[in-house]
Homo-oligomer: 216 residues x 2
Amino acid sequence: MILNPRPADAAPAAHDRVYRALRGRIMQGDLPPGEGLTLRGIGSEYEVSMTPAREAVRRLVAEGALTMSSSGRVSTPELSNERIEELAALRALIEVELASRALPRAHMALIERMQTINATIAEAVAHRDAASYIRTNLEFHRTLYLRAQAPAMLAMAETVWLQMGPTMRALYGRLRKTEPPHFHRLIIAALRAGDEPGLRLAVRSDVTQGLRMLAS
Amino acid sequence: MILNPRPADAAPAAHDRVYRALRGRIMQGDLPPGEGLTLRGIGSEYEVSMTPAREAVRRLVAEGALTMSSSGRVSTPELSNERIEELAALRALIEVELASRALPRAHMALIERMQTINATIAEAVAHRDAASYIRTNLEFHRTLYLRAQAPAMLAMAETVWLQMGPTMRALYGRLRKTEPPHFHRLIIAALRAGDEPGLRLAVRSDVTQGLRMLAS
DNA sequence: TGAGCGGATTTGTGATCACAAGCAATCCAT
DNA sequence: ATGGATTGCTTGTGATCACAAATCCGCTCA
C-alpha cells in the first residue's frame, strides 16, 4: 500500500507553490496593508497562468490573509483597530492554551533552541530588520507550540498571524524599538521552572504587547 | 462614492452560490464523514462548470470543511478522537469569550428569541430530526454571539463548527437522546441574571458535552 | 479650476479543452 | 481459483479564450 503517492522530490502543484510563496510574504509582512494584487500579475510573477493564481488567491482570501472587494479585486487587508483588538484577543486565547499544552513536553533541547532563536530576534531588532524580526518571532512561538501536539489549534493560531501580517509590518516599521523582546525571557524562564501560571501570563503579555504599541 | 456596487438582488457569483450550498450542507451534517465529492459531480448538481466548483471546493478545503488527499480527491473529513478533542477545546475557548462579550449587550428581546429557538430545538429532539437539531442548535449559539460584535471571533467559531459538521451528524445520529438541551437553560438563566462566571461555565459545559457522548 | 463624461484598457469570471495520474474492473498465467 | 499485470474510464490540473464589468485616463464644458 502506497502511503504517500507524491514523492517528496516531485514538483509541487503550481497553485500550491504560488500559495506558499504569497502566504510567506504576507505572514512576514512583506506586503503593506492595502496592497492590490491582480491574478494576471501574480501569474506572470510566478510564471503560471491565471488558474493556479486564482486558486492560491481564493485560498488566502478564505483564510483571511487577503480581502476581496465586491467586484473581485483582491488586496492585503487594512485592519480597523477593533479588528486588531479582536485578533490579539484570539492570539491570547489560543496561544496561551497551546503554551500550556506544550509545557509538560518542553525538554531542555527545546528551551535551548528557543533561546537561540531569541538571540536571532535580538539581532534583527538591532539591525532594524522588520521582516526578519517578524519571521523569527513567529518561529519562536511556533517552536514552542509544535510541542503541544495540537495541529488544529496551531493552524488557527497561524491563521491569525496571517491576518495580522501586513499590519504587523506597518506597526513595527513605525516603531523605534531597540530593546530585545522582554517577555520572551519570561516565557523561557517559566518553561525552565515548569511554572504554568507564569507561562500563561508571559505568553499573554507577549502576544498583547502589540496592542500597547497601537494605543500609543 | 458607491459603497456596495453589487445590488442585493443581483445574481450571486456561481462559485459563491455553490460554496454557500455546500457549506450549509456540511455544517448541518447533511454529509456523513468520509463522503467523496468530485468536481464534475458538484458542477452537474449545481449546473455550473468545473471552474466554480473547483473554487468552492478549494475554499472549503482551506477552511477545513473538506479534506483533500495527496492526489487531489476531496471528501468530508473523518476526524480522529484527538482532533475532536482539540476542536471542542477551541469551541470552549472562543465561544466562552464570545458569550462573555455578548453578556453586557444581551437585552430581553435577545433572551426571548433564544428561548424561542430553544423550543424549536426541543421539537427537533422529540422528532429525532438530527439535521434540524444541529442547525437550530447552531442558530441558538450564533444568535448570542452576534451580540458580541466580534466578527473575527465569530468567523473562527463558525469554522470550527464547519469542521465538526459531518462528525456531529454521525454522533447525534447514533445517540438515543430524548431530553432537550439542559445547558441551554443554564445559559439563558445566566444571561437573565447577568451572571458572567455562570455564563462562562454554562457555555463551556454545553460546548464540551459532545465529548462525553464520544467517550461513552 | 474642477466636476462630469466617454471610450480604452484592465481585470475577474466561467467554460472548454488537453493531459497526466489515479483507480477499478478485467483478463491472463500459474 | 487466485494473485498480479493491464487496459480503459474517471478525476484533478492548468492553459486559453470569450465576455462583462469595473477602473482609469483624457477630454470637455461649466
